[in-house]
């Protein structure tokens, strides 16, 4: 795909929009007309051309503006990026993973030249040209994780594995749906999953923990998660609840199409080779209801899914206030025709 990077905002005047091509590549997460809870983990292997799964790290038309938004968040609140000292090796692992993937798959935008530990990185969209020594933090303007994640869409957490557990010991989190790195840093797997409803039921977490601890090199996995948010706001963190919490009150039947957004997180998990840590990536995709109904299949399916949500999920995702209004608005686009299986447009 020929990428044209857009100039847009995720705050204040909210000029974010998807181009028609980007609407069609949106990772619509519902594979049938009703919501089914599954631990939908699959191998993170290349998907169809032009889909968000085509490459391990997806770069899209929002890249430059998202990176500007991240810089603003970090300026206001440097604690959104934290790393415990023992995670340094994992930080370098992440630098390698992201630079190699981005330069291999988007050579017109990114170039990486390696000569032993002398690396040269060129990021054309952001106008960066950096020579550095791999492994030597003093040769970069920021610590390694912060350096590269200021240039890569999505949040990243680096998870250390020790003592039969996983520890959230580093991360950069500026586009999160309602959780806090500052709160979770240094916590282990069971602790940071504490607040999820129905969570410790049926050994789900024990199984997930075992699965992650045995995650293999070269076999990353992914899953989609979703929620909804008002306005295309990337930073809906607890720290900033006072800024976005009241957005929900502003939804009216007249503005649903532009205000209500489906927010899909593409979560990836990779084993890192040098540190044996795990990187957990959380990439956020946003689509307004106006954009969503331009795909007839999604226009039909979305209200059907919203109607069938289990009540505890409606609460957990914070949809109570505007769910019914959204269903009513969307139902105008649902002619009742059957939909084809799978999430992709027809």
């Amino acid at each position: 795909m020929n990428l044209v990077f857009k100039k847009e905002t995720f705050r204040d005047d909210f000029t974010f929009k998807n181009s028609p091509e980007h609407v069609r590549r949106f990772p619509f997460p519902f594979h049938e007309d009703k919501y089914m809870y599954t631990v939908n983990i699959e191998p993170h292997t290349p998907g169809p051309v032009n889909s968000v799964f085509e490459f391990p790290i997806d770069v899209d038309e929002h890249y430059v503006s998202e990176m500007e938004d991240r810089a603003l968040v970090l300026k206001d609140d440097p604690l959104r990026c934290q790393a415990l000292p023992h995670m340094q090796l994992a930080e370098w692992d992440l630098v390698e993973l992201l630079m190699v993937s981005m330069s291999e798959h988007y050579p017109e935008h990114f170039t990486l030249t390696r000569d032993g530990d002398k690396w040269h990185w060129i990021n054309r969209p952001l106008g960066i040209d950096q020579q550095f020594t791999f492994g030597d933090t003093a040769t970069l303007p920021y610590p390694p994780m912060e350096y590269i994640t200021r240039q890569c869409q999505g949040d990243f957490c680096l998870i250390d594995q020790r003592d039969g557990n996983l520890w959230m010991d580093a991360g950069i989190v500026t586009t999160q749906a309602d959780w806090s790195l500052d709160f979770d840093i240094g916590m282990n797997f069971m602790e940071w999953h504490g607040p999820v409803p129905l969570a410790h039921e049926a050994g789900v977490f024990d199984r997930a923990l075992k699965f992650l601890m045995n995650l293999q090199l070269g076999k990353p996995v992914r899953r989609l998660n979703w929620t909804m948010s008002i306005n295309p706001r990337l930073d809906t963190s607890p720290e900033n609840f006072h800024k976005w919490g009241s957005d929900r009150m502003t939804v009216t039947p007249e503005n649903i199409g532009e205000k209500v957004h489906l927010r899909v997180e593409l979560q990836g998990l990779w084993r890192l080779p040098r540190s044996n840590a795990i990187v957990f990536s959380i990439r956020c995709y946003l689509i307004s209801m106006n954009e969503l109904v331009s795909v007839p299949k999604w226009a039909r399916r979305m209200p059907r899914v919203l109607k069938n949500l289990p009540p505890e999920l409606i609460d957990y995702k914070g949809l109570s206030r505007y769910r019914q209004m959204t269903i009513d608005w969307l139902s105008r686009f649902d002619d009742g025709a059957p939909t084809s299986p799978g999430g992709q447009p027809d």
Binding site: D163, N214, G218, V221, P273, R274, S275, N276
Partner: protein
């Protein structure tokens, strides 16, 4: 959580680039990627599973990666020739020649260097030296202090003793059984600075001795690390019914359940093939005898429960086992 994500592991075709006799019973093998380029980055403590076709049988043995994590032109392993009848090490020693092709898995690290550690005590017995060679390399590169204590049977058996001594000098301490030299474990365990981590690899008895002594000396469990490669023990043959795949296989005297199942074309998940990682855990539907648990993974309650078995190393005393596979 679907299991097919984890089954097997990614296999890399390699060519044997070099074979060096290191000591009486140890040979070092150098594996270069057949496709050219470099091998995947690995970390000290990682192992690979080497697959070999021995006659009509496919053997898969885990070996620690040695050498420097910065040299990725090839992987190197060292193989102790053991005269168990399973034949993997004998095959590598006697039949594999320079230029032959084998496959190795992507590296798996069940014995990683704890990045919060301030000091490292490495204890190796015999062939257990191999992961420690990579560790010493990595710790040196990371400028972390370590000492290596290496015990072996006799003068002919000390693979890499001289090289290590030459490279690391006073950081390396050698103990030769035949000269009645013993690792001064009690003294070692005493008065170590906070943040010291101990790593041990070697024969089972030695590992138990070190871990037990560590615990007795008041070391926290998190600071004691061990890796044992348990070869699947032999035993009387028995049959295994794979209930979901509707297959019946016979597990031979010198074969593991996992190997017998693989030979039938079913590929259960595994990582260590040595009873340590938990990956091959399988549910038992029924068994007409008793389960012989040989792993280090299952908790005592789980062993007694008779509902789970680690098929890479465990067997049954009996004639028929039905598995949920």
């Amino acid at each position: 959580m679907s299991m097919n994500l984890m089954s097997g592991s990614t296999e890399i075709p390699v060519r044997v680039a070099d074979i060096v006799q290191v000591s009486e019973r140890v040979k070092r093998f150098r594996f270069e990627p057949v496709a050219g380029g470099s091998m995947p980055v690995f970390s000290a403590g990682a192992h690979v599973v080497v697959s070999m076709n021995i006659g009509s049988r496919r053997a898969r043995n885990p070996y620690s990666l040695m050498g420097s994590v910065t040299d990725l032109s090839a992987y190197e392993i060292s193989v102790l020739k053991t005269v168990d009848s399973r034949g993997g090490s004998v095959f590598l020693h006697d039949s594999v020649k320079i230029g032959d092709q084998l496959t190795v898995s992507t590296p798996v690290n069940l014995f990683p260097v704890e990045q919060r550690g301030r000091k490292f005590i490495l204890i190796a017995g015999g062939i257990g030296i191999t992961p420690m060679i990579a560790m010493a390399e990595q710790l040196t590169a990371q400028k972390l202090p370590f000492e290596l204590h290496y015990a072996y049977r006799n003068d002919q058996a000390g693979a890499y003793a001289d090289t290590l001594k030459a490279r690391y000098g006073h950081l390396v301490h050698l103990y030769i059984d035949s000269r009645d030299e013993r690792i001064p474990l009690d003294a070692l365990l005493k008065n170590q600075p906070l943040g010291t981590h101990l790593y041990v690899c070697g024969p089972g008895g030695m590992i138990n001795w070190v871990l037990e002594s560590g615990r007795k000396a008041g070391w926290p469990e998190e600071n004691l690390h061990s890796e044992r490669f348990l070869a699947p023990p032999s035993g009387k043959p028995f049959s295994v019914v794979l209930e979901r795949s509707k297959k019946t296989v016979t597990v031979g005297e010198h074969e593991s359940i996992l190997e017998a199942i693989e030979a039938s074309g079913v590929e259960p998940p595994y990582l260590c093939r040595g009873g340590a990682c938990g990956q091959c855990l399988t549910c038992v539907v029924s068994c007409d005898g008793t389960l012989e648990h040989n792993d280090h993974y299952l908790a005592p309650e789980e062993r007694d429960g008779n509902q789970k078995i680690m098929i890479c190393v465990s067997r049954i005393k009996g004639s028929n086992l039905v598995l949920d596979l």
